[in-house]
């Protein structure tokens, strides 16, 4: 039989040879994969300034000979570990910011303990963030502080900024931050108030287990975990791919439990009543309207975000009271926007350009 049009016998032989080599490499690397541990993550040198229950405040050691006047406080999402922003040297957002001359602090979370099940939104917004801001001011000797909030860390930062709108926040940066929870359609379906008894759940389990949170994230793309395993096998000969896979997989499966009371409030106030969007949100009896926020704000959203769809995030900039405000939409997903090879080229330089002018 003749080869079909478009096939060249020489190139087919070359391709077969390359596939055989890859198959051999897969076997060797597959054994290596099973017998070795992944790369060490979150290793940028830092000091722990506060460690109080679920809350930790880190200060990263400066890497530049001169730094901008205004320090940065990063507020991590309560469901995830902060090392997503500090993967490995060369792929670390923290390292990038330190090398660009920023003084960086991070409010990171550990799993709340059973006795912390009564932690509420009030604790996060009126205690943890203000406490960290005070400590950053004390440590840096500066009054002004810029805040970066990632995902739900962005929601907490918005609540803080809307309540403490007379300072000391200098700039606010939100990464993929939802405000219109009607548009988080699948999460809304999972927590449909007709069928989801959040009181019963929280009263039964105390803190909501990390496995449950992780499953709900996985369910947004139900086939992806299986297909990612197939892709891993397909690419296991490629060290860079495997390194990237291991970093993301470890982080993705390292989901934190949520304090019970905080989860109950999040479901009722945000998921069911959409209070932040409807301007009816209060925290500890204090009004938290987005229009109260007057500081410069940058909101970075991802074009292919399956966790926070653009419709859930797009009204943030219009509802904010600031005059200096900007939304930037970049290629990528919820995680690849902030971490990984593409973030280095897209989000990080954009943020540096925006923030450097506002950090003196």
């Amino acid at each position: 039989m003749n080869a079909p049009t478009g096939f060249d016998v020489g190139s087919i032989a070359e391709r077969v040879q390359s596939e055989v080599q890859r198959a051999i490499q897969r076997s060797i690397k597959g054994v290596e994969y099973i017998s070795s541990s992944g790369p060490s993550l979150g290793s940028t040198p830092k000091d722990v300034l506060i460690s109080r229950g679920t809350m930790n405040l880190y200060h990263y050691r400066p890497m530049a000979s001169e730094v901008y006047r205004v320090p940065i406080l990063i507020v991590m999402a309560t469901t995830n570990r902060g090392y997503i922003l500090d993967l490995v040297p060369g792929q670390s957002f923290i390292e990038f910011m330190l090398k660009r001359g920023y003084d960086v602090y991070m409010l990171d979370w550990t799993a709340p303990k059973p006795e912390e099940k009564s932690l509420a939104m009030e604790d996060y917004v009126l205690d943890f963030i203000p406490d960290c801001v005070r400590r950053v001011q004390q440590d840096s000797g500066e009054t002004d502080v810029s805040i970066i909030g990632y995902c739900f860390g962005g929601v907490l930062s918005l609540l803080y900024a809307s309540i403490f709108n007379d300072g000391p926040m200098k700039n606010l940066i939100c990464f993929t931050t939802p405000i219109d929870f009607r548009e988080m359609k699948l999460f809304r379906s999972f927590s449909d108030r007709r069928y989801f008894d959040v009181d019963k759940l929280v009263d039964s389990v105390g803190n909501v287990p990390g496995d449950m949170i992780m499953t709900s994230f996985d369910m947004l793309r139900p086939a992806s975990r299986v297909f990612s395993q197939v892709q891993l096998w397909d690419n296991i000969w490629n060290d860079e791919y495997v390194k990237g896979y291991r970093m993301m997989d470890r982080w993705g499966t390292d989901t934190l439990p949520l304090a019970g009371e905080y989860f109950r409030q999040t479901v009722k106030n945000l998921m069911w009543d959409n209070k932040l969007f409807n301007d009816t949100m209060t925290v500890g009896g204090r009004e938290a309207k987005l229009a109260n926020i007057k500081v410069p704000i940058l909101h970075a959203v991802a074009e292919h975000d399956h966790i926070v769809p653009y419709d859930a995030a797009k009204h943030l900039i219009t509802k904010i009271g600031s005059e200096d405000k900007e939304e930037v939409m970049l290629k990528g997903g919820h995680v690849s926007l902030v971490a990984g090879a593409n973030a280095i080229k897209r989000l990080w330089p954009k943020l540096d350009t925006w923030l450097s002018k506002r950090s003196t």
Partner: protein
């Protein structure tokens, strides 16, 4: 090289990508329905209830056997952790005192920090 459209590896990868998208989209449609929410929440509600009852039963059993419960062990772990935290604070303070005692008169008593004088690079000079 072979035409990319005819390359079996490329065809395989494209097929996998399309299958993943298809399954995800089908799953999302299914999960958006109220029936799915009802069934899922009934199942998870029953599991949570059973977990609570089992926990209470175990607590009673451990008490009868004169063994510590999980809550008591967690409490002890908490106290140990707090002692460890205080020890590391004391260690840090001791190191600081030692460091200060080695510093020259009026010298580098506190950690050296870079000056907060950095200015943004002029437009067009960014890398």
């Amino acid at each position: 090289m072979a035409d990319k459209g005819n390359d079996p590896a490329v065809i395989w990868q494209t097929m996998m990508g399309e299958m993943e998208k298809g399954f995800n989209s089908f799953g999302n449609q299914l999960m958006a329905s109220p029936e799915f929410s009802r069934v899922m929440n009934q199942a998870s509600g029953a599991a949570a209830g059973a977990q609570k009852q089992l926990g209470e039963l175990m607590e009673k059993y451990l008490l009868a056997m004169n063994l510590p419960s999980r809550a008591q062990l967690v409490g002890m772990a908490e106290r140990i952790q707090s002692i460890e935290g205080q020890l590391s604070e004391i260690k840090a303070l001791l190191q600081q005192v030692h460091h200060n005692s080695l510093a020259p008169e009026g010298g580098y008593g506190t950690t050296q920090r870079p000056p907060r004088t950095k200015q943004p690079p002029p437009e067009g000079e960014r890398k």
